[in-house]
């Protein structure tokens, strides 16, 4: 990759990481000690760029709003569901393990997918190898839940609906 292309792809990501770290420092040190915080942030950003080719993926603002609302309501429901099952005297668990072909493209979208699966009702991400996602389910229809989540994640990144890819 040419230096110029690298710079145009890495710079936005670098700024985002730096801004988040600065916010964290602000929260931790209450605006003091930038003489230490500043260089530390710079070092972390450089190290991150050196270790992995991060790229800023533009988010779809409305999609983000929809995703956050969906995530909060579903994780609340997921917590209630599993709490009900744990406290139920007969312990009703519909255990199944499945492999599902992920339709989202490689990159941040998949990371978000795998990261959120375990907090949504009845599903737990077990493994992701190439395109094959292993999901453990205890309730409902894991397959349908994953497909629905994939649509939301596609919406979050403003990607076209992934359903068409075979």
């Amino acid at each position: 990759m040419s230096l110029r292309r690298r710079a145009t792809q890495d710079l936005p990501a670098a700024f985002i990481i730096a801004a988040l770290l600065a916010l964290l420092w602000l929260g931790l040190a209450e605006g003091e000690g930038w003489w230490f915080g500043g260089p530390a942030i710079l070092a972390v950003v450089l190290m991150t760029l050196h270790l992995s080719p991060v790229r800023a993926q533009p988010l779809h603002p409305l999609g983000l709003l929809r995703f956050v609302a969906y995530f909060i309501s579903q994780s609340l429901y997921g917590g209630l569901d599993v709490a009900g099952r744990a406290l139920h005297p007969r312990l009703p668990l519909l255990i199944e393990k499945r492999q599902i072909a992920v339709q989202l493209p490689d990159g941040p979208a998949r990371t978000v997918l795998v990261g959120t699966i375990s907090l949504l009702p009845g599903t737990l991400a077990v493994d992701l190898e190439d395109d094959l996602l292993t999901v453990h389910g205890i309730a409902g229809d894991p397959m349908a839940n994953i497909r629905r989540l994939e649509k939301r994640v596609a919406d979050l990144f403003g990607l076209p609906d992934a359903g068409m890819r075979i």
Binding site: L24, G27, V82, A83, R85, A86, G115, S118, L119, L124
Partner: protein, 95 residues
């Protein structure tokens, strides 16, 4: 004060979720089902406690800090859950 009651209610319900998570950890039959209980129930519990404390705090920096802690905790839990689940899967241990 009314806000105090909100805090008390949210923290109490949050604690109940933690209790349910532990009950699941002890009662569920294997590693994967136990992971379901811990990740989901405990993070809802922590979220409710953070929300209750946000109401109690009432200042913008305080609220932001609590929100930040919750988001980071979710991140830590979901990454840990995935790693433990995969690690257990590849071990091929049957319980």
């Amino acid at each position: 004060m009314l806000t105090d009651w909100w805090t008390i209610a949210l923290v109490t319900v949050g604690c109940a979720f933690f209790l349910a998570g532990t009950v699941g950890l002890l009662r569920f039959p294997d590693v994967h089902t136990r992971l379901h209980a811990l990740t989901k129930a405990d993070n809802v519990g922590l979220g409710l406690i953070c929300l209750g404390l946000m109401i109690h705090d009432g200042t913008l920096p305080g609220i932001l800090r609590l929100g930040f802690i919750w988001i980071l905790a979710i991140f830590a839990a979901t990454v840990s859950a995935f790693l433990i689940a995969r690690w257990h899967e590849s071990a091929g241990t049957e319980d």
